[in-house]
Homo-oligomer: 230 residues x 2
DNA sequence: TTCTGTACACTCGTATACGAGAATCCACAT
DNA sequence: ATGTGGATTCTCGTATACGAGTGTACAGAA
């Protein structure tokens, strides 16, 4: 496992700490990232003792973090049986992508007319970063940043939060796709189409591109067929 | 406060306990219900010590419960400052209802063609229950049951879960509406229209009715203007 | 050899305990 | 009378400790 931080968790957002970051939240952030980037694969048991020892804290903040992640849907907890990285079968992936398509289409439709030029440029910059980024692990994060930038002007924070949550839930599976260079170039092409339509303020066309983008991703994923329950 | 259960929490679903109900979950259920039915109004501070003593347990399960409720968006937690029942200003209510309209319209559209006749009858039965129910506190629950019954055949469990969560988040504000008999009768009328269109398998019409139903509710709420920050 | 029962080990849920940070209140000075 | 400083108190976050439930492994009997 390559994610142990061990006493060195704080490191992002060190300067502008509005809310004091509790240990539980830091642990949750590290675990979420490790799950998203594939370091922790589906089904991996998450023992409270192990995690506590690994991070160098007690079990209490670990418990809090696990509960938080359970609420986000990326770990499952059974009382007396422990927690494990949530599994997703094909039907669940289909469900997630259906919800994503619904949420993101609406957000995009609302956002396009109000998108500032800076945001568009920012999104374009992220696309270039993706092209230049060799490390697949960071691709998921950049992908999320790009999409959220396009939705950012939708004027509904709750909608954005939902979208981000579902992105996180799906990221570790999407990452499987990204190992394929074919899919990556196809995805980037769609991303640029998306950005262009947004620049032209053509919301309807943008939504069409987005729907195809998500549909292609899901189809590839469902076809690949993720791991089954043991 | 009229919600203290104190050592007598278990009582619903006593027989078929698939997962052992932890104390934390029981506490969460009681708190959620108390918030939804208005016993705990927005802004009420939730002190861990108080709750623990009131319920007769220690602070640990209370902490777990609060974290769970925070994830559901109905309580806010600030580290070192404690938890309180989440406040919602007008814009947030607007956001919630926008999301609800999006989610529930889609669920209804998908569900209508597949709704079994039993479910329709069940929904109709719930409507009669609402008419016969004098206690406003139970109205919110019945309302949720009715709506979810109509969506139940949408074939997307995750979508249903999202809808239920947003119902819970909004329930305590909707409850304010229900104290008005005017709104209650209007709402019931729309409910029956909704059921009728579903019986005719007219998804488009059903969605129109639902949109108006939700739109009216939000408009009334936004106009009423909920409590401000102190 | 196989099946069963018992005992052990493991993990979680919950309780208690301690330290740190924030808020409040009172006293004192201006 | 009012503003400021400090001390007390309150609450939370985290650590440690204990009890209960479950799974497993080993031994003994069929």
């Amino acid at each position: 496992m390559g994610w142990q931080g061990r006493h060195r968790l704080r490191g992002l957002g060190e300067g502008l700490v509005q809310k004091p970051l509790t240990v539980a939240e830091q642990v949750a952030n590290v675990l979420r990232e490790s799950i998203a980037d594939g370091s922790l694969v589906a089904g991996t048991p998450l023992r409270q003792d192990d995690l506590a020892e690994r991070f160098g804290f007690s079990r209490m903040p670990v418990r809090d973090a696990l509960r938080q992640l359970e609420a986000e849907g990326i770990v499952s907890i059974h009382p007396t049986k422990g927690a494990h990285v949530a599994r997703m079968d094909t039907t669940e992936i289909r469900e997630i992508f259906a919800v994503r398509e619904l949420l993101e289409s609406e957000a995009l439709r609302l956002s396009v007319p109000n998108l500032a030029r800076e945001k568009l440029d920012e999104a374009g910059h992220v696309l270039n970063q993706i092209d230049a980024e060799p490390d697949v692990r960071r691709w998921g994060t950049l992908n999320r940043v790009f999409h959220l930038a396009l939705y950012s002007a939708c004027g509904n924070d709750r909608l954005l939060a939902l979208i981000e949550a579902h992105h996180n839930a799906a990221d570790r599976y999407v990452r499987v796709l990204l190992s394929s260079l074919d899919y990556r170039s196809q995805s980037q092409e769609q991303h640029r189409d998306l950005l262009t339509t947004c620049r032209h303020r053509d919301a309807a066309a943008a939504v069409r591109v987005l729907r195809k983008h998500l549909g292609d991703g899901m189809a590839t994923l469902a076809q690949a067929g993720p791991a089954r329950k043991p």
